[in-house]
Symmetry: C2
Subunit: 462 residues, 2 copies
């Protein structure tokens, strides 16, 4: 029975459960069937807006019995088709589960509902002297960030979502509500259900509460932008800093094309050369020490024209330019869409991997640019193509596959932070082996035997 028929059978119960918070409006379904990636919308049959864990649990019980797919929806900023409904079903929009339930400032943790966005959380925390560090750029929800194992510009210092969640509450496919941990900073009490759920993209359970780690806002923060003569020199500067253990807060790379896009989009006048965006933080003497070390490393590699941003408003402008990179890239070619790669390799292979990617871009008719969280070995290539031109789309896909193949050959991963979604299931066996994917299928079958939780994501279809 297709989902659209299956959902009809439970529609009266859905109406009773959600009332006006159930929508089958075409526009609502359309916007819930796509994220920010280049793939077309695959709308769900309906969208619900729960307000409690209990409602999500009742919904799961209903859909489990009727074999109706359930697709969690946070802020819709995924780039890999996570929120699409290729088999129909019900999109669960968490925008009304956006309460910050507790802030334990003394323990450096907070308990939030999954629909809280990272900016909302940080605004709420402002007076506590604490902050939540994971920053994927977009104002994603904490639930979505858990589901995709998000990371970003601050990961080189603070780690990814895997490192910044103490516990979750999760609704299973059959409606059972599971607590994966507690507020202790560490535990050896059984299997790590928290980490099993983080990065499972809604295919093993539906996240309904998250206990996140918080960190003290550093006493001193300063940021800088520094151009380099070549991309290799910029990368080598980052590698040296990582290897020396300089506790950098952020180390971001943009290539010359990316810098020209940033200048045009954000009305700035940075040098249009390979450039590092850097942030230093800590106690004052430590920051001074870090800055001196970085200056020395950069100078040896031809990078000496540092532009500093000490004041919060200057730093915000600098990082806004970096965070708007996706939109700045799109603006290079009005009407174009972007296919975004997300490979991550061991840092000693990074210059090689970026070099080969640049060469592939030079040889392609498409415009592309490179930016990356190079302290982690992770970089993105934005490949701009005309969505109405099948040849261009095919060329973007060809480049994407070539870049993934390079990264896998260099002991890397096809996705550092965007997740598998639908687009990368085809690379999983190549990356991890048949046996590892078989284990993932066994875990999925054990926890969601009727495959109602976000079907078509993570697990390859054959």
């Amino acid at each position: 029975m297709p989902a659209s028929l299956a959902i009809e059978a439970i529609f009266p119960q859905l109406e009773t459960l959600f009332g006006e918070r159930l929508s089958v409006n075409a526009g609502v379904r359309e916007t819930h069937g796509r994220g920010e990636g280049s793939t077309a919308s695959e709308p769900p049959d309906a969208v619900v807006f729960p307000t409690s864990t209990d409602e999500v649990s009742q919904l799961a019980k209903l859909c489990h019995g009727a074999s109706v797919p359930l697709i969690p929806f946070g802020a819709g900023t995924s780039l890999e088709g996570h929120v699409a409904a290729p088999l129909g079903g019900i999109s669960i929009d968490f925008s009304r589960m956006n309460a910050i339930e507790a802030v334990h400032a003394e323990d450096l943790d907070a308990v939030v509902q999954p629909g809280v966005t990272r900016k909302h959380l940080n605004t709420h925390l402002r007076d506590t002297g604490l902050f939540f560090p994971v920053d994927p750029g977009a104002d994603a929800t904490i639930g979505g960030m858990c589901a995709t194992r998000a990371s970003g510009t601050s990961t080189v210092r603070y780690g990814s979502m895997k490192d910044n969640v103490l516990a979750m509450e999760v609704v299973l496919a059959d409606g059972r509500v599971v607590k994966t941990g507690n507020r202790a900073r560490k535990s050896a009490a059984g299997y790590d259900l928290t980490r099993l759920m983080i990065g499972s993209e809604g295919t093993l359970g539906i996240i309904t509460s998250v206990t996140v780690k918080l960190h003290g806002i550093p006493e001193t923060v300063t940021a800088a932008v520094c151009p380099f003569p070549t991309i290799e020199n910029a990368v080598d500067c980052v590698i040296a800093a990582v290897q020396m253990g300089v506790p950098m807060a952020r180390m971001e790379l943009m290539d010359a094309v990316a810098m020209s896009a940033v200048n045009a989009y954000s009305k700035l006048d940075y040098a249009e050369a390979p450039t590092l965006f850097l942030e230093f933080e800590g106690a004052p003497a430590s920051v001074t020490e870090q800055v001196e070390t970085l200056k020395t490393l950069a100078k040896d590699l031809g990078g000496s024209d540092f532009q500093w941003a000490d004041k919060p408003e200057d730093r915000n402008r600098l990082w806004a330019a970096r965070h708007n990179m996706y939109y700045a890239g799109l603006a290079l070619r009005p009407g174009a869409q972007a296919l975004t790669t997300d490979v991550c390799v061991p840092i000693s292979n990074l210059a090689d991997c970026i070099g080969r990617t640049h060469k592939a871009l030079d040889e392609s008719p498409l415009t592309g640019l490179i930016l990356g969280h190079v302290g982690d070995g992770n970089f993105h290539t934005l490949l701009l193509f005309d969505p109405d031109n099948p040849n261009e789309h095919a060329e973007a896909e060809r480049l994407n596959t070539a870049i993934v193949n390079q990264a896998l050959a260099l002991d890397g991963t096809c996705t550092g932070e965007h997740g598998v979604g639908q687009g990368k299931t085809k690379y999983l066996r190549q990356e991890l082996g048949v046996e590892a994917v078989d284990v993932m299928i066994q875990l999925k079958s054990a926890l969601d035997p009727t495959n109602i939780l976000n079907p078509g994501k993570v697990i390859p279809r054959n």
Copy 2:
């Protein structure tokens, strides 16, 4: 069929596979059936000493078909009966799989066989300027530390095994060999099989290779010992440092009884008062800054008599005294055994939890002492009892349960780092709920349907 009969059926194949590396010697079996805890040995039927992943895989296939239990054995330093064979079967001693297969200094990682101990690894790394930070005190194997999600004195700075492993190779119950990840510093490629295996105590798979993260040896390291007027003051000093985000390398607490044990055992003359053992590290100016901050915090809480250890040999002596605490505690009462608790609570509840534990100790006829990784909220109580006196053993168990109940009531865990083993299965449902344990049982059934992998550990028997 009991394991002892089942193993007879496959004995000829075992002899072919392992030759002289198969032992049924009573003494060998006895030592492989117990760790360092207070429980009696439960010897396996045989012990094998594999030299390759392929041998482990063949062994698993053989035992899977014959339903013979397999119990991985590292250095035998577990305190929770992890290596015991309550249902008989075969102990897999990894002492001959102790090769360091690769050190990627540029990438800050190393690939090691599971029988490599942490001290062996760090000795090997000495000339690279890098080190492996996780330090549970005992010279445990990397495989065993993965299996129990070990942590220790340096966790407040570097995290636990969960945070310091990039990937593993694991043999499943049926002999399949799975690669859980690769050398990329981060990945969002599917379920986190690495973290699923870490802390699974050999019940989901047998670890045959580990890719660990390495860190640069800090430029400057200094350590200090500082007594406080009360245990609450010492704990408050730690809490303040954590909340201020001082990047301390180690923050360890010992109570007055522990300090007298240390003085007697290690021939030292520290004040016999609640004491913090501290370590500071980083670039020189940063260390100076951290030291000044800690001195100010400590002074306000009555702690000003710092004894410093700047030279490596002095620091080694200081930390050797801390690491020998278990043996120093045992030496307080010759012939006694120790039951060691391992609770971990949110740090704002730590002073309360330790205070109640002290009160319980004061009211008990048994001698006990407290030491702990207080920066993480984790502390141990060593409860000394006469193993030949059932009343004393029962009293130690009663105190253990009371301390666990306190910790769980304070949103903590029954085990911060020692693991569940056999001793703590009874607390799992109380700590995480029936549903979470049901999920663990589902995962175990999916990956090890005939329950041959370390049976009787982690999963409650009923």
